[in-house]
């Protein structure tokens, strides 16, 4: 609207030809300076933009957040069922471990491998090399005498003796026995003897 005034005022200038250069420069372009309140009242595109992007951003974030949350819920649920399955596997394996490491099973397996006990141990004292006890060869007597007199109903299905023997056989065929890598622990009491050098 302010520009209308300028338009009217510009019109006479076109009809007067000559005096143009006599006259000082034609009244410059004038417009009404808007008051401060007018300026303030003018709608600003920036504000609209900020609000709209803000709203959009919130909506998008909200959306992403809830996608993330439900995604998380599914992940939690799948991990929980995975954990349940792993717990079950763990239970199966530890049950089997406890069962196989029961003395009944160990003794039977050891004897089926031809192992015998020697009830007369002999000790070598490291500090002075003394032999304590009298060395006797193992009599070759069986502890169990082939009889399992201490029942364990968990072992009753013949899976154990058979399966372990078969398992041991199969493992033996596949790979060299790992025994040499495992050094048996020798319990030692007292200070370790050290060589005396002078």
């Amino acid at each position: 609207m302010t520009n209308l005034a300028g338009a009217f005022m510009a019109r006479p200038r076109t009809s007067i030809a000559e005096p143009a250069h006599d006259l000082p420069a034609i009244t410059p372009h004038i417009e009404i300076v808007p008051t401060r309140s007018q300026k303030r009242a003018r709608p600003k595109i920036a504000y609209a933009a900020v609000v709209v992007t803000g709203v959009l951003a919130i909506v998008v974030t909200q959306l992403l957040l809830s996608i993330g949350l439900s995604d998380g819920a599914y992940e939690i649920s799948s991990l929980q069922s995975q954990q349940k399955e792993l717990d079950r596997s763990n239970q199966v394996l530890s049950e089997q471990f406890d069962k196989l490491s029961s003395p009944q099973n160990l003794a039977a397996s050891a004897e089926s491998l031809g192992m015998v006990t020697n009830s007369a141990p002999v000790y070598l004292r490291l500090s002075d090399g003394a032999v304590l006890g009298s060395p006797v060869a193992a009599a070759g007597t069986s502890v169990t005498g082939g009889q399992a007199l201490v029942p364990n109903s968990l072992l009753t299905p013949p899976t154990v003796a058979g399966a372990t023997a078969a398992g041991a056989g199969a493992a033996g065929a596949e790979s060299a026995p790992p025994a040499p890598e495992v050094q048996p622990d020798v319990p030692w009491q007292g200070a370790l003897p050290s060589p005396t050098t002078r």
Binding site: V136, G145, L149, V150, S153, L154
Partner: protein, 594 residues
């Protein structure tokens, strides 16, 4: 025209505003109705549809031996249930994408192949009551079977898990570990052995978890409400060594069967701590399979059955007399075949001899002379002997507090008749349990200090703290000198007694005492069967372990020789397992005759 336009605009605006207000009002009313007025009803209804409540099990704790070997533990077993109402054909898609239709008969066959039932049985369960919504197809199957059935993908099967007790070592310490039963409320509870003693320690607290879930069963984010946290039970730690326990049970069972005996017990105790390393009973129970054992054989004989100990009790009499300073190892006695008290009571030696035996105190023990022991024992007044027995805890049950534990039978001294007065010197006329006898020898081996008998070394809570640690304060029962002298006298039994050949452990000095006690026939008189026993310590120069073997009613051998080989085997095993160094000094070799 302008005025009309503006008026119509205003009217339209008013109408619009009213419309909006009306719509909003309707919404508000509805909102209030739903959110406030009907809130509780709707919430409840939705909760029923959405919420899932799961029990989180606070599993019963383990029972472990002295090195952590699991003797009892809790595992989950699965129940498979079906909804017969919805048992129909279903489609199964295999890995290649081919779809086959499975009929209930086929499905029943597949289930039966896994559970070991017959297809007809399973089909019968599924069709027994077609209107029902619930039927157990199979109960208590293990994880492998559960997985196989689940993988069949049968839509009308449902699964639930239950905690179940299992004993990986079977009958090893079965009678001590005990088993589960039901209390008055039908809840599973320990009903024998350590399961019962430590029930409070072992019991866990179940938790309840409530959450809301969507149609696919996935929890709605943020809805998990843990109502009660589950607390697992504590771990009961025993002093038992499961390997030694097995060895003892095996050796005992072999000997009991060999001698045709009725029952037997072995108790192995650590001298310096009072800990029970093995408590073997025969017959014994496999807690996994209670039905295989008659009810009366499911307990622990060693704790619960008192018997007249016989000659192994002479060690207590000897220690009492030595402690009172009324005799020493060399005190000389002329032991007749029949000894008659001035009051008329009399006793005789187990083997006939014409001339009195000229024995030292050590010789009386070695020969196991009843008359000699009676003469020496009577140096003490009955009250004094009663007091010594009480100090050795005869007549009161051990600190273990085993369910149904017996304290033996020791009548008050004023109820002793003349015969009882005499026979109590050599272990008749009173009764002890196998555990009490082991404890007597423990005190003698430990310089006269009796330590509390320990079976449970504590209860380890889930957070690692150990509670219920037993008291280990000892009590000086007899002087160290009296204890050592008694051990030296007991050593003569292993070096020269009738069972000496069976008691040799190469490299080690053994102190032991045989016993052959007449058994009460249950009606106040002695029957014709015997309890044979052997209790002893090794190495005699510094006793570390007590082994006490009792075999009742052996048929083929009727004296301490029935029990001696078991003692020798088990003592050798204990010494080997614990790396006890061979005896360095020779025994005192006390003179037994003069």
């Amino acid at each position: 025209m302008n005025a009309t336009a503006s008026r119509s605009t205003r009217r339209r605006a008013t109408v619009a505003v009213f419309a909006v207000v009306a719509v909003v009002a309707v919404f508000v009313v509805r909102l209030v109705t739903i959110q406030v007025v009907q809130a509780d009803t709707l919430n409840a209804a939705s909760f029923d549809k959405l919420s899932a409540e799961t029990t989180t099990y606070g599993l019963r704790g383990d029972i472990v031996d002295n090195d952590g070997t699991v003797l009892a533990t809790t595992v989950l077993r699965y129940d498979v249930t079906a909804s017969p109402k919805s048992v129909t054909d279903f489609d199964r898609t295999d890995d290649e994408g081919a779809t086959t239709t499975v009929t209930p008969t086929q499905a029943a066959g597949e289930i039966a192949a896994i559970t070991g039932q017959t297809a007809d049985q399973v089909y019968g369960i599924l069709t027994a009551d077609p209107s029902s919504n619930f039927a157990y197809v199979v109960r208590g199957i293990d994880v492998d079977a559960f997985r196989s059935i689940r993988d069949l993908g049968i839509p009308w099967l449902y699964y639930s898990s239950n905690p179940v007790r299992t004993y990986p070592n079977g009958a090893v310490a079965g009678s001590v570990v005990g088993f589960m039963g039901e209390d008055e409320a039908g809840e599973a509870t320990g009903s024998a052995g350590v399961e019962q003693i430590e029930n409070q320690c072992l019991t866990g607290t179940d938790g309840v978890q409530t959450y809301e879930r969507g149609a696919d069963g996935v929890a709605i984010p943020g809805s998990t409400v843990t109502t009660t946290e589950a607390e697992p039970g504590g771990t009961a730690m025993l002093t038992i060594d499961s390997d030694l326990q097995w060895f003892s049970q095996q050796a005992l069972a072999a000997r009991v069967q060999e001698t045709g005996a009725a029952w037997g017990t072995v108790v192995v105790q650590e001298v310096k701590t009072g800990k029970l390393l093995a408590v073997a009973d025969y017959p014994s129970v496999d807690p996994n399979n209670l039905d295989a054992t008659p009810t009366e054989d499911r307990g622990s004989i060693a704790f619960q059955a008192p018997f007249e100990p016989g000659s192994t009790f002479k060690a207590l009499t000897a220690a009492s007399v030595l402690d009172a300073g009324l005799a020493n190892v060399g005190t000389q006695v002329e032991a007749p075949y029949i000894f008659t008290d001035p009051n008329g009571a009399s006793t005789r030696d187990s083997e006939f001899h014409v001339d009195p035996l000229r024995l030292t105190f050590a010789g009386v023990i070695q020969e196991s002379s009843n008359t000699g022991t009676a003469m020496l024992g009577e140096l003490l007044s009955p009250q004094q002997r009663f007091d010594y027995m009480t100090k050795f805890h005869i007549g009161s049950s051990s600190e273990v507090g085993f369910p149904g534990e017996s304290g033996g039978i020791l009548h008050p001294v004023d109820e002793w008749d003349d015969q009882t007065n005499l026979t109590t010197t050599f272990g008749q006329g009173l009764a002890t349990t196998a555990v009490q006898m082991a404890s007597v020898y423990q005190a003698l081996g430990n310089g006269g200090v009796r330590l509390p008998v320990q079976l449970v070394s504590g209860c380890k809570q889930a957070d690692g703290t150990v509670t219920q640690v037993p008291d280990t304060t000892g009590e000086q029962v007899v002087s160290p000198q009296a204890a050592t002298d008694t051990i030296n006298m007991l050593e003569t039994v292993a070096t020269g007694g009738y069972a000496s050949a069976d008691l040799q452990i190469p490299g080690y000095r053994v102190a032991a005492k045989t016993g052959t006690a007449q058994m009460s026939d249950g009606s106040g008189a002695y029957g014709d069967s015997y309890i044979t026993s052997l209790a002893g310590l090794a190495p005699a120069d510094d006793p570390q372990y007590v082994v006490s073997v009792t075999i009742a009613k052996p048929v083929t051998i009727e004296n301490g020789l029935a029990a001696a080989p078991v003692f020798q085997k088990i003592m050798s095993q204990v010494l080997k397992e614990h790396r006890v160094l061979p005896s360095g000094v020779p025994g005192p070799d006390l003179p037994t005759t003069y």
